[in-house]
């Protein structure tokens, strides 16, 4: 059985993941009704504690919470450049005083949701911590592929981009591996995490090889800051070697789908003409995000296994 918090896909087993996906499928049906609301979390409080700004993910959690009739409160702790560090204990104690039923935390530094979870009674859901994990993104990616392909076992999933700095890549590599897919990572050598093959995946510096026979191609966003950190020489070179266009996509299977957690850099990691329609399923990912987050809230909010029999 799952623990009190959802901090990392690394902590979940296959049965847990399947349970969340099945629940998400039920929640998707709720999203197709006229009245897209059920009273399940009525009178419950969900706090979005986003130290790192993110309109998409926060809005997705907010909609998910409201569809379950929860009261959603958004907390964006001030991130003035003077105040470098937030006392985690102080933050947690302030929240605890409000007796929330779930706290969704996003932070630019890995490990903060775990530290908050250690200090709080309420369940904590990790909405992204540094380069560590982004569990609900991986769950909605799993769900999207499952809906498209009808299965996950035996699929080949290729993740392309700045892997070393990507929490989406990490969560996805755990998620897809646990459900029986073969996961490949493709990136310039400077962007592959040290010893990553110990996690059961294959690392490639050739995009072509990584794409051979892939069922799913997942692209990650390239950030300008990485240029300054000397991770790659120019956007132009990145786009030429690792950007996906129709020509390179031909190495993948004919019915391969293209995914991206957003926001996309058109013309960099993905060509203009690939972004907006099949085989891209990027908009499905966004839509599925609400159903998946509703499932997560259903399964985790208001639970305290320590108090349960």
């Amino acid at each position: 059985m799952m623990g009190r918090d959802l901090l990392a896909i690394e902590d979940l087993d296959r049965a847990d993941l399947e349970r969340i996906l099945e629940t998400a499928q039920r929640m998707e049906e709720v999203g197709r009704r006229d009245v897209k609301k059920v009273p399940t979390l009525r009178g419950r409080t969900l706090i979005n504690l986003f130290f790192e700004a993110s309109t998409r993910t926060r809005t997705s959690f907010e909609i998910a919470g409201k569809r379950l009739s929860a009261d959603v409160v958004n907390f964006t702790p001030s991130s003035s450049s003077l105040k470098k560090a937030e006392s985690i204990l102080d933050t947690a104690m302030t929240l605890d005083a409000m007796a929330p039923d779930a706290v969704v935390v996003r932070h630019a530094v890995a490990g903060v949701p775990k530290r908050i979870a250690d200090a709080l009674e309420a369940p904590v859901i990790n909405a992204g911590d540094g380069a560590h994990e982004h569990p609900t993104q991986a769950l909605l990616d799993l769900f999207t592929v499952w809906q498209e392909k009808g299965r996950l076992d035996g699929l080949t999933v290729t993740i392309v981009g700045d892997i070393v700095h990507s929490r989406v890549a990490r969560s996805n590599l755990y998620a897809f591996s646990k459900l029986g897919a073969e996961v490949r990572l493709a990136a310039p050598p400077t962007m592959l995490p040290p010893a990553v093959e110990a996690l059961g995946v294959k690392a490639y510096t050739s995009l072509r090889e990584a794409l051979e026979g892939a069922d799913v191609v997942m692209l990650l966003r390239i950030q300008q800051e990485r240029l300054d950190g000397c991770f790659f020489p120019s956007i132009r070179e990145y786009a030429a070697t690792f950007g996906l266009d129709r020509a390179k996509l031909r190495y993948a299977k004919d019915d391969a789908i293209v995914m991206h957690p957003g926001p996309i850099n058109r013309g960099v990691e993905i060509a203009h003409d690939l972004a907006d329609r099949r085989p891209s399923v990027i908009l499905d990912q966004v839509r599925n995000g609400v159903a998946v987050r509703m499932a997560v809230l259903y399964l985790f909010a208001g639970r305290n296994p320590r108090r349960e029999g």
Partner: protein, 194 residues
Amino acid sequence: MTPSLDARVVLDDTAIRRALVRIAHELVEHNERLDELYLVAIPNGGVPLARSIAANLHQIADLEVPVGILDTTLYRDDLLSRGDRPPLRRTEMPSAVDGRVVVLVDDVVSTGRTIRAAMDALMDFGRPQAVQVVGLVDRGHRELPIKIDYVGKNLPTRRGERVELRGLAGGLEGPLEVVVRGDGEAGQPEGVTA
């Protein structure tokens, strides 16, 4: 699904079929606008029963009554006080609810909370003209003022006993039976509802 010495069969497959035929007749007898009927099953037990009733209505009165499935889990009043979250079941509502005479179908009715949750759910789908309730077994112990319009069998039970609808061959396909288990009996309920 091992047969338990302590489980006694209170309705066998034949008795269930007869009851469902009788209930279909009663539905026809008590409703004027038969073309507005909409059978809505509460999973899991209500599903084979509703399908059976629909087949019976087709035979008796040449009716094509739509059958919907409405999971009530998200409307339960006891979800957050429980430990584990129960699994969600499929909801499929092929027809709109507005203006319909919705006939909720459940296998075992006890406290009435499931029927109440089903009505809450139903109201989110639209505004039925009327709501009626079919319960294959009424085992009493009401906690809410819910009445069953069409009962298969009244079955007085002790609170601690468990009453469930199950298929003889596993699942809910094929022949069915209703069994009562003694207090404290472990068992995997397929159709048990509160």
